[in-house]
């Protein structure tokens, strides 16, 4: 038998240290908070699973969780098909390629709080392009007072900000399809729908998986843009999970509750992402 040589562990050590500091230690701190009631650094009590029970029964969480799911669903339902359509209609060669790539990258380069500010102004009915046009068309639009308008504005803002990402990912996926597939489809007399359904979509599957997961995780954690745009209002109409969490942790300094909340939040994202992943890849293993 070969003697064991454990020197390799030294090579793995840096990764362990890095992961410990970036993920494990912070997370364990949160776990630690979540089982205590903390008044100040020296006054705290162990409370077990009480925060978890309380949080799970909290109507505030239920409401914002519901809002969050509806929001993420809308984001995916609009941005993924739209991104695919944009990618399909982008030029494949010539000067149009760099031009469209730059145009699409622009929204991605804007900082998130700036995006919120931009739309705060665009949405205003007096000086904002979007708000003024809608009101001129006879629609009574005001994102600050009408929950429906606030929702629409937050969604449009997200679509404006992030559809490019989906489009760019899909475009790179489309570019990687060898020409011979399109040639074969022409020889087989496939319709353009069949080309999309049987060549482009299957080849896009992997990038779409990444796009869906990124957009889900990001939209599920959205904070800055609605915070800047509407401050979560009117009322709690656009108060999403992360904002509820921030209010709890920093606004009320309810660290224990907030820690329990964030762990549940984390598990939900993990679970939903896993479901997406499994659903989109389960066919690969079938014969």
């Amino acid at each position: 038998m070969k003697p064991y040589n454990n020197k390799a562990w030294w090579l793995v050590l840096p990764v362990f240290v890095l992961v410990a500091f970036s993920a494990i230690i912070p997370m364990m701190t949160v776990v630690n908070y979540s089982v205590q009631d903390i008044f100040d650094p020296s006054t705290r009590y162990f409370v077990g699973t009480e925060w978890y029970r309380e949080i799970l029964a909290d109507p505030r969480l239920h409401d914002s969780l519901m809002r969050q799911f509806v929001y993420s669903f809308c984001v995916l339902a609009i941005e993924v098909p739209l991104g695919i359509i944009v990618a399909l209609s982008m030029p494949r060669r010539g000067l149009g390629v760099p031009v469209s790539l730059i145009l699409l990258s622009l929204p991605l380069l804007v900082p998130w709080n700036v995006v919120g500010t931009i739309w705060q102004i665009i949405g205003r009915e007096d000086i904002g392009l979007y708000g003024w046009i809608l009101n001129s068309l006879g629609l009574d639009y005001n994102y600050a007072s009408n929950p429906r308008d606030a929702w629409a504005t937050v969604l449009v803002m997200d679509v404006w900000h992030w559809t490019s990402l989906v489009a760019l990912l899909c475009y790179s996926g489309l570019r990687s399809i060898p020409d011979v597939y399109y040639q074969a489809a022409r020889i087989d007399r496939a319709s353009s729908w069949a080309v999309f359904r049987y060549i482009q979509l299957p080849k896009l599957k992997n990038v779409l998986l990444i796009a869906v997961m990124l957009r889900f995780m990001d939209s599920f954690m959205i904070y800055t843009e609605p915070f800047v745009l509407t401050g979560g209002g009117p009322g709690t109409a656009t108060t999403f999970l992360s904002q509820t969490l921030t209010q709890m942790a920093l606004g009320q300094f309810d660290l224990g509750r907030a820690a329990a909340f964030s762990l549940i939040y984390f598990l939900i994202i993990l679970l939903v992402t896993w479901v997406f992943y499994t659903a989109m890849t389960h066919n690969d293993n079938k014969g």
């Binding site: 011979v180 022409r186 020889i187 087989d188 007399r189 496939a190 049987y198 066919n283 014969g287």
Partner: protein
């Protein structure tokens, strides 16, 4: 099913071609007759695939016309031309089963379910992929995928022609042989025009009745394997066909007849006279290694030293280095049982197998 005619066809990937080198295909006229099994043989980059893509309509030729049964199809897309093409690397629709892959072209044509089922099973049986029919295509091995690709080409029974672009590249040699036989069988059964592109002369001659040899964007010879072997119309055909290829020697017409570096070769007077009438140009003598005779040194004017003997199993290749100033090597092919001489030998070229080329083109010699 159709006769495919190429009329003054030429193609260039340059926008404004000015010199012959700008053309991927130089002007050609050619006919593929209905029901024939043809091979298009040539080295990589000679324009074979370009020609194939022009026939199928994937490429629009920059000059000339493609005619199916006398009708120009230049303006028709591949869909409208109703042609099948199999590519070098397998193209399968990953998410479909093998059955659906094979049925795809038929469904696009709007055939009835029963017809589709019948055809797919017929083709699957011919290619021996029946057990795979219900499998998803993306789990197949490379050669299974290629069989499916070929199946999609063969499944339509009303196509003008089936074009194969080096379809057996990814297939291992054993299976290659069987698939070629299959294609041949299918060709005989369905009587459809087939054009098979390859760079492998063995593949070409086992599949095709007639072979078109391409070189630098031109079809330099079109004939049966035997014609290509016995009567190469172009030095390239001589060199490319046969293993090893034809020996080609630069010759001049001197006062005493045909001379190879000042040594007079035993060539008939009438042949020399005909060569003299042909005018200027680079002259070459071609002789296949199969016909080179190794004789005693005193029996010939041409001598050399045996340089290398390669035993190929069923025959031997003998390299003889001539004792002329530039010392060209002549290859002779000997049967496995024939004795191989050593040291200095004489060489004889039987008159019946001497071929003469002027500027690479065969000089026709009247008997």
């Amino acid at each position: 099913m159709a006769e495919i005619r190429l009329e003054q066809l030429a193609h260039s990937y340059h926008g404004t071609p000015s010199k012959p080198a700008d053309y991927a295909l130089r002007q050609m006229d050619h006919v593929w007759e209905q029901g024939g099994a043809y091979a298009l043989l040539g080295p990589s980059g000679c324009g074979k695939s370009t020609l194939l893509n022009i026939i199928s309509g994937l490429l629009v030729p920059s000059e000339g016309r493609v005619l199916y049964d006398g009708k120009s199809v230049n303006d028709l897309s591949p869909q409208q031309r109703n042609i099948a093409q199999v590519f070098q690397f397998p193209v399968v629709y990953d998410t479909m089963t093998v059955f659906d892959n094979l049925a795809f072209p038929l469904r696009n044509q709007g055939l009835s379910r029963d017809r589709i089922d019948l055809r797919v099973r017929e083709v699957a049986e011919a290619l021996e992929i029946e057990p795979l029919l219900s499998r998803k295509a993306h789990n197949l091995t490379a050669d299974e995928k290629q069989k499916v690709s070929m199946g999609r080409g063969l499944v339509r029974d009303d196509v003008a022609a089936i074009l194969f672009d080096e379809p057996l590249t990814v297939i291992d040699p054993q299976l290659k042989w069987r698939l070629r036989r299959k294609l041949k069988e299918i060709h005989q059964r369905f009587n459809v025009t087939m054009v098979y592109v390859t760079h492998d002369q063995l593949e070409a001659s086992t599949f095709a009745d007639k072979i078109a040899v391409m070189y630098q964007g031109q079809i330099v010879q079109f004939g049966t394997p035997r014609e290509l072997f016995e009567n190469p119309q172009h030095t390239f055909v001589g060199y490319f066909i046969g293993s090893p290829g034809m020996n080609l020697l630069d010759i001049v017409l001197g006062s005493s007849g045909v001379e190879l570096e000042r040594r007079t070769l035993p060539v008939d007077e009438s042949v020399v006279a005909q060569l003299r009438r042909g005018g200027e140009g680079r002259l070459q003598l071609g002789i296949r290694p199969e016909f080179v005779q190794l004789v005693a040194p005193e029996a010939s004017t041409l001598h050399g030293q045996v340089d290398l003997v390669q035993d190929q199993g069923t025959f031997k290749i003998v390299d003889v280095r001539l004792d002329t100033p530039s010392a060209p090597v002549i290859k002779a092919r000997l049967g496995e049982e024939e004795p191989v001489p050593e040291g200095r030998v004489g060489l004889a070229f039987p008159a019946a197998w001497q071929r003469f080329y002027r500027d690479d083109r065969l000089v026709e010699i009247a008997p």
